[in-house]
Symmetry: C2
Subunit: 253 residues, 2 copies
DNA sequence: CTCAACAATTGATCTATATCAGCAAGCTAA
DNA sequence: TTAGCTTGCTGATATAGATCAATTGTTGAG
């Protein structure tokens, strides 16, 4: 089954899609020579879009690929023994999902589309092989995984030490940075996740998320209109986040 | 100073220390052919022991090596803007510290010895080079980083969703597993960190850690004598941890 | 051995956030 | 259109765990 399916792996032979992709400066191809981008391009499968709510992979499934988000958003989550969902991350365009599956050869989480979402599937065994031949690709992979470790540790600090205000502010600014990096507005954007999902991710009750956002709006920090967010007072928001966004800070040095 | 000191980089030429190391089955050399272990061995520096409280590297310092703990224990931590310490991890023998520095080429955390500790320094540029020549070493590195991502995400679940009892139980069982893996008792061990450090790590006040442990003891779950811990009722402890230790579970499949 | 500094425990409050409950506004399907 | 869901907001109350404070135990320097 995987065999017949994998024919479209070669559909990219005609032209390098990676080179035309607006995300290539952020995704894996960063700092690759043209010919290397082509080689990477050859191993990538473009999948049909996922509709909102569809799973990209599910917890326990055998690992064989990592995925780069092209459009849309994904969330990854665990189902705990008690049956509740615990969201471990949101993934925006240019970001890589599935790296946590390498170790045990099974995905330890599920990945679900929050809206219509397209991804590039990158079979990991091919990627690993190719990375032997292209040192800068290998380095890029190490860097991406290292950044993920760094980011997750910042998230641990957030969950362990921050109060509700700081959590919500951190979350919004984090999204803001990610939009900015892709060339979108850092101050006005649309949340693709529900309040419930934000709360779940931040370790807060839905009601708390709602209350904090309302208060932020009252105090002129942000403007909220359903899923549309505008950051009005960026300086004050940054002050709220304040402590310990080390990974981000170092980037600015 | 670092120069004169680094002469001992070559002390390993005489014989492969990795091959004699009791941790080689857990550390990087896992699944390497003998000749490859020797090549790895050549790039490793054995450093003088760190005394309790000494820093291995500090937040912001330029990244050039990862470190494998040989004996003792390390903690990694951030200093937040408000000046408080936030512990992001504890490292036991055979575990690798410093991977989070790859991305930005600076360590985003500090690493401090909790007791007298010896480490193997592995210059990352050498390791990366070597990994090009030894595919299984490269794979091992990917796996280690993937596992770290997986572990950190479990920690996020712990911090976001668990109550004090579950946090402390998870922490103790996690240590138990790590001791067991190295061939030590899974039920009786010594904590190398203070109650304050445990609380800091788990997002709890010292007092709460103390109270939970006392209650666990009263209820016959564990036996506490200062830093010495015995797990009496492993089944009940595991029930407490219960939900969502996915990475660990998959390992048992 | 002794004193000082620090680490751990225990008890008494306080508080941030969860939980419970009710309501309003959209959205979907018939 | 209306009934039935879902999502978000807000108020009232409950509670887990923080904070404050006092006591005891431990460690290590001289």
């Amino acid at each position: 089954m995987a065999i017949s399916n994998s024919n479209n792996r070669f559909s990219s032979k005609l032209t390098s899609q990676c080179q035309n992709c607006s995300l290539s400066a952020l995704c894996l191809p960063i700092a690759l020579a043209d010919e290397d981008v082509n080689r990477l391009d050859q191993i990538i499968e473009r999948k049909r879009p996922l509709k909102k709510g569809e799973l990209l992979f599910h917890q326990g499934e055998e690992f064989d690929s990592v995925f780069a988000v092209r459009t849309g958003t994904l969330k990854t989550f665990n189902i705990t023994n008690s049956g509740e969902e615990q969201i471990t991350g949101f993934y925006c365009p240019s970001e890589l999902v599935g790296l946590s599956g390498i170790d045990e050869n099974h995905y330890p989480v599920s990945a679900k589309a929050l809206e219509t979402t397209t991804v590039c599937e990158i079979p990991f065994s091919h990627l690993e092989q190719l990375s032997s031949q292209i040192p800068s690709l290998k380095h890029q992979l190490f860097r991406l995984m290292s950044r993920k470790i760094c980011d997750d540790q910042q998230m641990m600090v957030l969950l362990g030490k921050k109060n509700a205000d700081e959590k919500v502010a951190s979350f919004l600014l984090n999204l803001s940075h990610r939009f900015k990096k892709r060339g979108y507005s850092a101050t006005a954007f649309r949340l693709s996740m529900s309040r419930g999902e934000i709360g779940n991710y931040l370790g807060l009750a839905v009601e708390t998320v709602s209350r904090v956002m309302t208060r932020f709006q009252k105090n002129g920090l942000i403007d909220v209109d359903g899923k549309e967010i505008s950051i009005i007072d960026m300086a004050e928001m940054e002050k709220l986040v304040g402590a310990s966004s080390e990974c981000a800070n170092i980037e600015h040095v």
